[in-house]
């Protein structure tokens, strides 16, 4: 937009009309002004964003805390349930191993969780079939 108007102000025919000096001066001035103007606007945006960040992050933190509280309440409620419902007659040791694996995986996130049931996955895609599919679709 600005440059379109620049082109209107500074067509090359001005070289003939105003002389080389005027045209060169005009180009230097208008070129540098446009570069500075564009980057000044970016400075303002980035600066404003930087100022707004503490408020945004505060709000996000509050939301996260609320969610964590809700999660903890749910976990507490779940802990009153008698036991994990293990399907297919899985043994207590299996349940313990799965619970330990989940605990390890969830350790980094720190979010509360509850294991309410353990169900055997349907064996719709055999493991070798899955490996083949992964290999074939990797490039995409």
């Amino acid at each position: 937009m600005v440059t379109n108007s620049l082109a209107a102000i500074l067509p090359m025919s001005l070289e003939a009309e105003y002389g080389l000096g005027t045209m060169i001066g005009g180009m230097i001035l208008s070129g540098l002004t446009t570069v500075f103007a564009a980057l000044l606007i970016l400075i303002l945006i980035v600066y404003a964003l930087g100022k707004a960040m503490p408020f945004i992050s505060q709000k996000n933190q509050k939301n996260a805390e609320d969610k964590a509280e809700q999660g903890a309440a749910k976990a507490a409620a779940a802990s009153f349930q008698p036991a994990v419902q293990a399907a297919d007659g899985a043994e207590d040791e299996t349940v313990a191993v799965i619970a330990a694996a989940v605990a390890t995986a969830m350790a980094d996130s720190g979010a509360p969780y509850a294991i309410t049931s353990i169900t055997r996955a349907k064996d719709a895609r055999p493991v070798w079939g899955f490996a083949g599919m992964t290999q074939n679709t990797r490039p995409f």
Partner: protein, 395 residues
């Protein structure tokens, strides 16, 4: 039988590129009158020698080898007699690959790759760095003036001036739009000077700064959040495209690559943009740009002027950045080290490393690298904006 054999051999020799080269030299040398015409007469072997020198610089001296090596080999191919491998030889392999340069496709794709590898964090943490990135574009416009005075046309002067932006893809992009006839010389000058940043910049930086200024230790940059990093490329694309639409393809692709990286959700695209795609495009770009440098276009007084003006552009750009750094030093009460201003001439990350090195010479415990990366990446955006201005006004 022997006669037929000898005739065949003689015909083969007469039709060979070697014979063509010799006959060209003899014919042109006989008709030469001026110094330039004598040089033009031995143009083909001279261009082959220049391509060997460039290959040597790329392989042995490590001068921007990723681009200089394909450029040098492209130049070599284009000057092989009768091989028709110039970018302008219609119908050949190089000709078709060259269309990506001619149509302005490769430089934005290179920018996409650069975007996936660029960390705008230091610039977001210290937005005032943008100003130094803008000031370093002074070289572009002053060189434009110099080229006009030397008799180049407006578009040619604009294409030569952009060498001062110290950004290879931008220089190639502008040259193809404004002065395709000068593309080979401009690309070679731009990449050669980018490789020479560690030699060209330090004397200028030291000349323009005092010992006290060079010793300034800057405060540590603040942490930048992921949200800021994600919003940044979108905001920059929007603002630049609205102000200078002709810079939108360069800046837009740069920022798309960066958004890939910062979003963290398209790891495969980030890897492809920064590796395979960029490498493929680099090969096509380098070879075809090199193959535009035929003896007729390259061996001229214009090329010498372009190489000279390129050096002026680089030096003034460096000086502009450092001088603006000095202004910021004064305005901030000595909190900004003016040495980081020289990094405003793009050439990422070489120019920032030079700021770091010169700063450490004064104070071994001074680490300016991250501070210099701000103006450095701002320079990439600044030179793309300047390119857009030149294309809009002169194109």
């Amino acid at each position: 039988m022997f006669r037929m054999f000898s005739n065949t051999i003689v015909d083969l020799i007469n039709d060979s590129g070697f014979a063509k080269m010799i006959s060209d030299i003899v014919t042109k040398w006989a008709g030469a009158d001026t110094f330039l015409e004598y040089i033009q007469a031995i143009g083909t072997p001279l261009m082959l020698i220049i391509s060997f020198v460039l290959m040597y610089l790329a392989i042995r001296k490590g001068f921007e080898p990723l681009l200089l090596l394909p450029i040098a080999f492209g130049m070599f191919l284009a000057n092989l007699p009768m091989a028709d491998l110039s970018s302008y030889s219609e119908g050949g392999l190089i000709y078709y690959l060259y269309q990506g340069v001619k149509l302005g496709i490769y430089p934005p794709l290179i920018f996409l790759g650069i975007g996936t590898m660029t960390d705008f964090g230091p610039l977001i943490a210290s937005p005032r760095s943008f100003l130094m990135g803008a000031a370093a574009q002074l070289g572009i416009f002053i060189t434009f003036a110099g080229a006009m005075i030397l008799g180049f046309t407006g578009p040619q002067a604009g294409a030569i001036g952009i060498i001062g932006g110290a950004d290879g893809p931008t220089a190639i992009y502008v040259a193809t739009k404004l002065a395709p006839e000068l593309l080979g010389s401009i690309a070679i000058a731009a990449y050669s000077y980018m490789a020479l940043v560690p030699i060209i910049q330090p004397p200028i930086m030291k000349l323009l700064t005092t010992k006290k200024e060079r010793g300034v230790v800057m405060e540590q940059l603040r942490e930048v959040s992921r949200l800021e990093r994600i919003i940044f490329p979108i905001a920059v694309s929007l603002v630049v495209a609205l102000i200078v639409p002709s810079a939108a393809s360069l800046v837009g692709m740069l920022m798309l690559g960066n958004l890939f990286k910062e979003s963290g959700v398209v790891e495969r695209l980030t890897k492809t943009g920064g590796n395979e795609l960029m490498n493929i495009v680099t090969i096509f770009l380098g070879v075809t740009v090199g193959a535009t440098a035929s003896a007729e276009t390259f061996l001229s007084a214009q090329t010498l002027f372009i190489i000279g003006l390129g050096l002026v552009a680089f030096s003034i750009g460096t000086a502009g950045g450092v001088l603006f750094g000095k202004v910021m030093y004064l305005v901030t009460g000595g909190k900004v080290n003016p040495l980081i201003g020289s990094a405003g001439v793009s050439a990422v990350p070489m120019a920032a490393r030079v700021s770091q090195r010169v700063g450490r010479e004064e104070n071994p415990n001074n680490y300016l690298l991250m501070h210099a990366m701000g103006p450095n990446v701002a320079g990439v955006i600044g030179s793309a904006v300047a390119a857009g201005v030149l294309i809009s006004v002169l194109g």
